[in-house]
Every structure is written in structure tokens, then in C-alpha cells.
Amino acid sequence: MLSPQYTKEKQYKVLVAKLGIDGHDRGAKVIARALRDFGFDVIYTGIRQTPEQIISAALQEDVDVIGISILSGSHIYHMKKLMEGLRSLGADDIPVVIGGTIPIIDVEELRRIGIREVFLPGESLRRIADVVRELAKEKREKESYRG
């Protein structure tokens, strides 16, 4: 008996966003392209984004993972706002990862506020893709309303 649900490989969707007002988009663009080449659908929202804009985009696009790039040193301030925003909307099951110029002493704090992974400068693209895929898979598996 054939099932009508032709099971295509699921396409994971990731939001890549520049939070804050720094214009260093080299890393974000490289990551966006790499994730695409690793098979993800990637939404890129450009520079100078507020936490509110990023959250709206993530919800409207129904992404599986939110990836943030910050190189302005203001990561703790902005990420706290982002995570609070997600929580207040009951959307904190969407995993959030971050990369950029982040001192190692800030990693623990970022983890504590719920960031699932902190990528330091020099991280390999493959590892980033692997981590994002795992997080996306984990999130999708928890969802029950799929038929």
C-alpha cells in the first residue's frame, strides 16, 4: 500500500540575523551561504536588527533555529532581550545560537540565559552546520501537531 505522503527529506529552516547596529556582515553572510550549501533553507534579514524584528521574522517564517551574529561587544545586553522576548511569547523552544567576537568569559553567561551554542571566531563551517542540524531535528521531533 502506497502512502500518499511522499516523504521528502525535511528541509530545515534557519534564520540568520545581525542583532544590534554593527555592520560587520561578513561572517553572517558566509554562514548563511554555507548553511544553504549544507542543505538548509536560510532566511537572512540583514544588518541593524532589533530583538523584536528578529523574533517576528522567526515566527512568521516558522524557522527551526535562530542564528545570531554580533561583533559589537553588546551581545549580552541584546541577547538577554532576545531571549526574554522569545520566552514571553512561549517561543523559547526555538533554539538560538550565536557567533561573533565574544570573549570566552561571556560564554557561560550566554549559556545561562538559554543560548544553546556559542560559536567563537574560527569555528569550522561544517561543525556549525552539524550543530544547527541537530538542534533543528530535536525541535521538530518535539512537535506533535504534524498530522
Binding site: L2, P4, Y6, F40, D41, Q49, L59, S144
Partner: protein
């Protein structure tokens, strides 16, 4: 609030209908593969839809279309409309994934509760793109977005199909784009209801304006509806000029088609198209699946070129009957 992952479909739909962004986003995802979800979900959506004006906006690359749409959203919002945007991204179909950046220019509206932007990748199966866009229209319509903007680059058959399913077709051009306009002609250039010459502050703008005006008067373009006199507008999206006039023209066209009955005709033709695309996609996917499952047999037939055509047709017939017996839920 219970976690989203624990909601059942009905609860999800209820939340979506009450304006919850997350739930709407999720429903749209489910609609990308409509036969994977119970049809009563679709029905409850369709029951409430059929009221919104669907506005197809296309234009040549570089015409400033995204910025124009962003300004148009502002203008429509000022007049109290709820606006949904389906941004069909012209990303390269070569790689497996897709990079969707069209909403970048509209991000200023991201936090406006009366605006919903959703990206669709133009890659994938034939017809899949149009189908996703059409099911999304039904959903946005049901969710009360009374202006639904579909943005495409206007090339390729499936994009032309989507444009034809819109109530109001807007074609955006820019000064000095003569050749590009020619290239568009085969596509949607000739069926615009409203033509917009953006970047009107640029040199050559007068020449292009006159060219377009002439083409309109001669009846080379603007042929979608004989009862409507197509309009040609000048805008400068970046400076916000001419945008309110565009919004007014969109509403004029709405009033016009409501009066002539063309509004409902379009809803019907859009749904007819959806029906056909659904069948097409279901068929294609199943054909692929069945053929994938009998690779060995196909290889054997192909290797042994003896009676290859007879064998191929026999297999094809069998596959058709297999699909015929399919129990589509």
C-alpha cells in the same frame, strides 16, 4: 501558556485565527504540503476566505520593487488595512538549500502586528511553488489580511501562473529599462493593471515614461481586463514619492472589480488552479516514489534495450493504475 509543541491541530488553528504569529507561521508551513494534513483544517480556512484583495507585484531586477513594497505597506497600513506579503525569492535552484533575503528590505514592518511577511523559495518541484503560494493566499485571507501582496520576479511559467491568480497585477519598471521591458513582455508585462515607473527622479525617466505610455495606448501592454483602463504611475520608493497614489489606484481597482464581478471570478480561477496544481503535484510525487522503488527493474529493462518502448509503456500503465488505486486520505 502550554508549549507550542504540545498543541493539537485544532488548538493550533484556533491560535492562528486569533492572530498568534507563531501559530500562523506554523499553519503556513503545514500548508506547504497540503495533503499531509487533515483536510478539515483546509476547509475551515477556505470557509473564511475569498474576501481579500490579492495583489501581484512583479518587476525587473533593480527596479526597487522590494523598497516600493515596503513603502506601499506603510501607506496601506495608514489606511487601516492588514497586509500579508508572500515574497517569492528568486534564489538559485542549483543547491539543495535556499537563501531567502527578500524580506530584508521589509524588515522595518516586522514588528507591526498588522503585517505578516512570509518567504517562499522558488526552487523545488514543478508547480510546488505556485501551490504553496496559493494555499498561503487562502490562509492569509482566512486570517483577515485584507491586502495580500505576492512578490515575484515575474519570470518562469509558475510565477506567471501565480500572477494570473492575483486580483490586481502591478508591474514595476525603472528608467532606461527598455531591453528588460522587452524581455518581460512574454511574461506578465502585458497583463498589468497598474504600471509603476519607479526611480522617477532618475535621468531618462521621461523617455521611459513616454515609451510606456505609448505602449499602453497602442494596446501592447495592459491587456488583462478590457473594462479597466490600465494606469501608469510614477514613484520614487526611496524618497517615498507617489506611494499614496499607488495605494489609491490599488483601491480603485478593487472597487472596480468588485463592481464588475471580476473579483469573484478571480477567486474561482485561483482555486481552480489550486485544484489542478494539487493533482499535478500529488501525481508527480507518487510517480517519483513508485519509480524510485523499482529502480532495479527499470535498470534491467534499460540495460536490455530489447523492446524498450513496449516495456516502458507497460510499466507506465501499471504505475497509473497503481496510483488510481491509491487511497488518498
Amino acid at each position: 501558556m502550554p508549549s507550542f509543541s504540545q498543541l493539537n491541530l485544532e488548538e493550533l488553528l484556533n491560535r492562528a485565527s486569533s492572530g498568534n504569529l507563531r501559530a500562523m507561521g506554523k499553519v503556513l508551513s503545514l500548508l506547504e504540503n497540503p495533503y499531509e494534513i487533515p483536510k478539515n483544517l483546509l476547509e475551515s480556512l477556505a470557509k473564511r476566505s475569498g474576501n481579500s484583495q490579492v495583489i501581484g507585484i512583479t518587476g525587473i531586477p533593480g527596479s526597487g520593487k522590494s523598497t516600493l513594497i515596503s513603502r506601499l505597506i506603510t501607506s496601506l497600513r495608514r489606511n487601516g488595512h492588514k497586509v500579508a506579503i508572500v515574497a517569492i525569492d528568486p534564489s538559485s535552484p542549483i543547491s539543495k538549500g535556499a537563501l531567502l533575503g527578500d524580506r530584508l528590505r521589509m524588515q522595518e514592518h516586522a514588528t507591526d502586528p498588522g503585517v505578516f511577511i512570509r518567504s517562499v523559495s522558488s526552487k523545488g518541484l514543478k508547480g510546488g511553488l505556485s501551490l504553496a503560494a496559493l494555499t498561503m493566499i487562502e490562509a492569509f485571507d482566512a486570517f483577515g489580511y485584507d491586502k495580500i501582496i505576492i512578490e515575484t520576479v515575474g519570470v518562469g511559467q509558475s510565477e506567471v501562473d501565480i500572477m494570473k491568480a492575483a486580483h490586481t497585477i502591478i508591474v514595476v519598471t525603472m528608467p532606461g529599462a527598455g531591453d528588460d521591458i522587452q524581455a518581460l513582455k512574454a511574461g506578465v508585462m502585458e497583463i498589468g493593471d497598474i504600471y509603476v515607473l519607479n526611480k522617477e527622479d532618475k535621468e531618462e525617466s521621461r523617455k521611459t515614461y513616454e515609451y510606456l505610455l505609448f505602449a499602453l495606448e497602442k494596446g501592447d501592454i495592459g491587456l488583462s481586463d478590457s473594462s479597466w483602463r490600465p494606469r501608469l504611475l510614477k514613484t520614487s520608493a526611496i524618497m517615498g514619492k507617489g506611494i499614496d497614489d499607488l495605494a489609491i489606484s490599488i483601491n480603485d481597482h478593487y472597487d472596480h472589480i468588485k463592481k464588475t464581478g471580476r473579483f469573484f471570478e478571480k477567486v474561482i480561477s485561483r482555486r481552480t488552479l489550486m485544484m489542478k496544481l494539487l493533482a499535478e503535484q500529488l501525481l508527480i510525487e507518487n510517480v517519483e516514489k513508485i519509480y524510485d522503488g523499482m529502480q532495479d527493474k527499470l535498470n534491467a529493462v534499460a540495460r536490455n534495450a530489447d523492446k524498450i518502448f513496449i516495456a516502458s509503456i507497460e510499466i507506465a500503465k501499471r504505475v497509473c493504475s497503481e496510483i488510481d488505486n491509491l487511497d488518498v486520505n
